[in-house]
């Protein structure tokens, strides 16, 4: 205990902390520090959630015997208005220095009880919570005695910590009035449009030369069957025109520094080899720059597969992926360009082509960020039993979209890749790589494959007279608005539904027809189909650059790689990194309606800090105790958030914390060999106090 007091005196909480635009920092008064701790404890029944297994009376009697406890009470629901009033009243009546509520998880009600503590006249950070529900009564429902003992431990530990808590003042920082959206699929486009329309300058970053994402590759969209490009291109044009949107295509995020309100983002503009008209103008080439005439393309001698057409159509080394690209600007693929210069010649006076162009780095400052990185298909050739890439007539659903699309490589005629013939028996295989726990495949449901396969079946019936579609399925998940009705319609049109997962496909080497093997589970009979074409409704996974990009922004991902939301139900667009939000499929598979809804949610959430102008940060910062710091600088490199730096101060080298960047993770504090780092709210004496209370019981 004596030790604790000594440490406390040295506590750097007294330091005046310098954060721009922040009111004078808090420094505790000497007398207050010395004051004997007086803790009030409230025990919550949570109806029968807690009181059902924990003996509240026994817990209360026990709590009364703990050191520093000046007041104990219990209540049905402490989070209710009268419950909170009990906290507020007790602070004044019993002259408390700290409060403890033994109830649910701090994730739920810590903010509630902090507010109540504040209303009672104490600093809100003098509140501590003992979780006796999630970590106790719910898991020990059938062991009341054990649960009560464990609750006693939890309360004793919380009281020990509350006795050592200090006043803390949250800092606030100013928020840059600009936002960034990374990824310009339908999610990113929608988020950028919303932000821009809310009056916020928005940088929209897209790694490809054109915006639009996967939706621009689709032919029609379920359940209304409207043409995908027709509903998307107006939005693409709006994005290209919006004065508040600065569109940066063929650009990647290279580095991120800073924190909510002040992200300094370095962008790499990949060398596209082509100047836009604006760029040309700025370089003094008047009337020059790419106008999208396309004269360069025919003269280019290099032929490469066009990724937009899933490699089923050629493009040149200088190319646009499709006629509706935004911005309408040609791009040179320098990995395949032979620098023959033919395009430069034919471009002539426009002088749009620069074969020596290099990547360029630009820095922008934004207040908040929306990640909309989308998805790609799982490499389904890994499921060898279905023969993708071994059998020519086994294709993926995205290849199907391009083949059935009027602007696609075959002008919308669905043909067999092996011989160009029109297929008459087409098998659609659902859950290809989804709902798969073998380790090769994805355990989750990809969510839109059921519906788009119904759409595909409809599309071939519409286009190919006499065709018979077969859908091999385990469950048809048609949960959206008008989706079940769509399922009804497709069944009515004559699609055969076989309830069975396809075990394997064999190819007849002579005809290239495919023998599809499954179980008709409803008849309990093995079923075999000789199909002309097989379409795999392939599982989706995060797009290739997602992992690198998320790490730059300090965003976590779940086990399957999708970006992790702050709370799956109550905060699906937020992340645990303040100021970074998620939109669209990068958070988990979503169809277009859900993608757009999530994008609007993310845009709205991202606009709030910007409109507020400043944000408060939780004051769990590391602090340097300068007298103890040896200036070794080891902590600087350890900090995952780049919050620490060495500075010269009064002739010495010491460490300095940029509080707005510090997340209070404690890495530095745990490491520092000199014990020179004070983790506010999780200080060494506070944690030692908790451990002592646990190991030595109430007496200490």
């Amino acid at each position: 205990m004596a030790d604790t007091k000594k440490n406390k005196k040295e506590s750097p909480a007294k330091k005046v902390v310098k954060v721009e635009g922040v009111p004078q920092s808090f420094s505790p008064k000497k007398e207050e520090e010395k004051k004997q701790a007086r803790i009030g404890v409230l025990i919550c029944h949570c109806g029968t959630n807690i009181a059902g297994s924990i003996d509240i009376k026994a817990l209360e009697e026990y709590t009364k015997t703990l050191p520093n406890v000046a007041f104990v009470d219990n209540y049905q629901y402490v989070c209710s208005t009268p419950g909170q009033k009990k906290i507020t009243d007790a602070i004044a009546q019993h002259n408390l220095t700290g409060t403890v509520v033994a109830a649910c998880s701090p994730r739920l009600h810590e903010p509630t009880f902090r507010t109540a503590t504040k209303e009672g006249g104490l600093n809100p950070f003098r509140f501590e919570m003992a979780n006796i529900r999630e970590q106790n009564s719910w898991v020990h429902m059938h062991d009341g005695e054990g649960a009560t003992e464990k609750a006693k431990d939890a309360v004793r530990i919380a009281v020990a910590k509350a006795s050592l808590l200090e006043d803390l003042i949250p800092k606030s920082v100013l928020v840059e009035k600009a936002a960034m959206v990374v990824g310009a699929g339908v999610a990113g486009m929608q988020a950028a449009l919303d932000l821009a329309n809310a009056g916020i300058k928005t940088y929209l970053i897209e790694t490809l030369p054109t915006i639009g994402g996967r939706m621009s590759q689709l032919d029609k969209t379920f359940p209304t069957l409207d043409c995908s490009q027709c509903i998307l291109t107006p939005k693409m044009v709006d994005v290209g025109r919006a004065p508040n949107i600065e569109l940066m295509t063929y650009t990647e995020v290279d580095a991120v520094e800073g924190y909510i309100g002040n992200f300094d983002v370095t962008l790499r503009k990949k060398a596209s080899g082509v100047l836009s008209m604006a760029q040309a103008e700025a370089m003094g080439i008047s009337g020059g720059g790419c106008n999208g005439c396309g004269d360069c393309e025919p003269v280019c001698p290099v032929i490469k597969p066009n990724d937009f057409e899933m490699g089923m159509k050629p493009r040149k080394a200088i190319y646009i992926s499709h006629p509706q690209v935004v911005p309408l600007l040609y791009t040179i693929d320098f990995d395949s360009c032979v620098k023959c210069g033919l395009c430069v010649t034919v471009c002539g006076d426009k002088k749009a082509i620069d074969l020596e162009m290099k990547d360029e780095f630009v820095k922008v400052k934004v207040g908040t960020v929306v990640l909309a990185l989308g998805f790609e298909l799982f490499p389904i050739e890994k499921k060898e039993e279905w023969g993708y890439k071994r059998f020519e007539n086994v294709i993926t659903s995205l290849e199907f979209e391009r083949l059935i699309c009027a602007s696609g490589p075959t002008g919308g005629h669905l043909v067999r890749p092996s011989d160009g013939k029109t297929p008459k028996k087409v098998a659609f295989i659902l859950c290809a790589g989804s709902r798969d726990n073998t380790g090769i495949g994805k355990p989750y449901c990809s969510r839109f494959c059921c519906m788009y396969s119904l759409k595909h079946a409809h599309q071939i019936i519409e286009k190919i007279p006499g065709v018979q579609p077969y859908i091999f399925y385990m469950d048809i998940r048609s949960f959206g608005k008008m989706y079940e009705e769509f399922y009804y319609r497709i069944q009515d049109e004559g699609t055969k539904f076989i309830r069975g997962r396809v075990s394997h496909i064999l190819e007849d080497p002579a005809t290239k027809n495919l023998m599809v093997h499954s179980d008709d589970t409803l008849l309990d009979q093995p079923f075999r189909l000789e199909a002309d074409l097989v379409v795999l409704a392939t599982a989706v996974q995060p797009s290739v650059d997602t992992d690198r990009t998320r790490k730059l922004f300090g965003v976590s991902c779940s086990m399957d790689g999708w970006l992790l939301e702050a709370h799956p139900k109550l905060n699906p667009c937020g992340t645990t990194t303040a100021g970074v939000f998620l939109a669209g499929v990068c958070q988990g598979p979503k169809d277009i309606p859900d993608t757009v809804a999530s994008a609007e949610g993310a845009a709205s959430a991202a606009s709030i800090p910007i409109h507020m102008g400043e944000v408060e940060l939780e004051p769990y910062f590391a602090q340097c105790i300068e007298e103890k710091c040896a200036g070794c600088g080891m902590c600087v490199n350890l900090c995952p958030y780049k919050a620490l730096a060495l500075i010269e101060k009064e002739g010495r080298t010491v460490m300095e914390v940029t509080e707005a960047k510090c997340k209070g993770c404690g890495t530095c504090g745990g490491f520092c060999p000199g014990g020179a780092i004070w983790m506010q709210h999780f200080a060494t004496p506070q944690i030692i106090g908790q451990i002592d209370a646990f190991l030595l019981g109430g007496a200490q």
């Binding site: 726990n437 495949g441 069975g500 997962r501 396809v502 179980d519 589970t521």
Partner: protein
């Protein structure tokens, strides 16, 4: 004549109660099978990949998916008394492909063990036990094989109990310890006299 005679019985048969009553299920059976098989049949979602992979299914009434379902539902008698239980070739195709990472083959093996405890087992399986007991091999070497082996430049007998008959004793000890041979002899005798 035969018809009118058989008709009432057939009709009787048609009209028996075919409802599966929850009270007829044996949850214990599911647990025991999981313990022996060390796999997770309760995770089966009835996709049919196993039946579709099965080389026995196209030529028989054996349905691996149905057996897994019986385990899930705890239908002990239905599973153990169905002669199809013995039609699995143990090729493991279903185990290779099951998307829920279940080993249906091992589920079948577990149920065969349980069936054997109730003396439910085809005689040919018991004759295999007897062959192992006397020769150390389920399928002992024969003259045709010996000739083939020689042609391939191999010894006539493989380096097993055929070459080292002194080790047959060890095998017999193991089989005796589990009373496998005694049980096999007993059941074969009961069935074949």
């Amino acid at each position: 004549m035969v018809r009118s005679k058989g008709y009432p019985e057939a009709l009787e048969n048609k009209l028996i109660d075919r409802v599966l009553y929850d009270s007829d299920r044996s949850p214990e059976f599911t647990k025991v099978v999981e313990e022996i098989s060390r796999t997770i049949p309760h995770m089966c979602y009835q996709c049919g990949t196993c039946t579709a992979s099965c080389p026995s299914a196209p030529r028989s009434t054996y349905r691996i998916r149905k057996f897994v379902r019986r385990v899930v539902m705890g239908l002990e008698n239905e599973a153990l008394t169905d002669p199809d239980l013995w039609l699995c070739t143990t090729c493991y195709s279903c185990t290779d492909r099951c998307p829920r990472d279940i080993a249906p083959t091992d589920v079948i093996m577990a149920m065969r063990n349980l069936a054997f405890k109730r003396d439910i087992i085809p005689v040919n399986f018991l004759k295999t036990v007897q062959a192992i007991y006397t020769t150390g091999h389920g399928v002992p070497n024969n003259d045709v094989n010996r000739a083939a082996r020689k042609k391939l430049g191999l010894e006539a007998d493989p380096p097993t109990t055929h070459k080292f008959p002194q080790y047959i004793k060890g095998i017999q000890k193991i089989l005796d310890y589990y009373k496998l041979k005694a049980n096999a002899d007993r059941i074969v005798k009961e069935r074949e006299g």
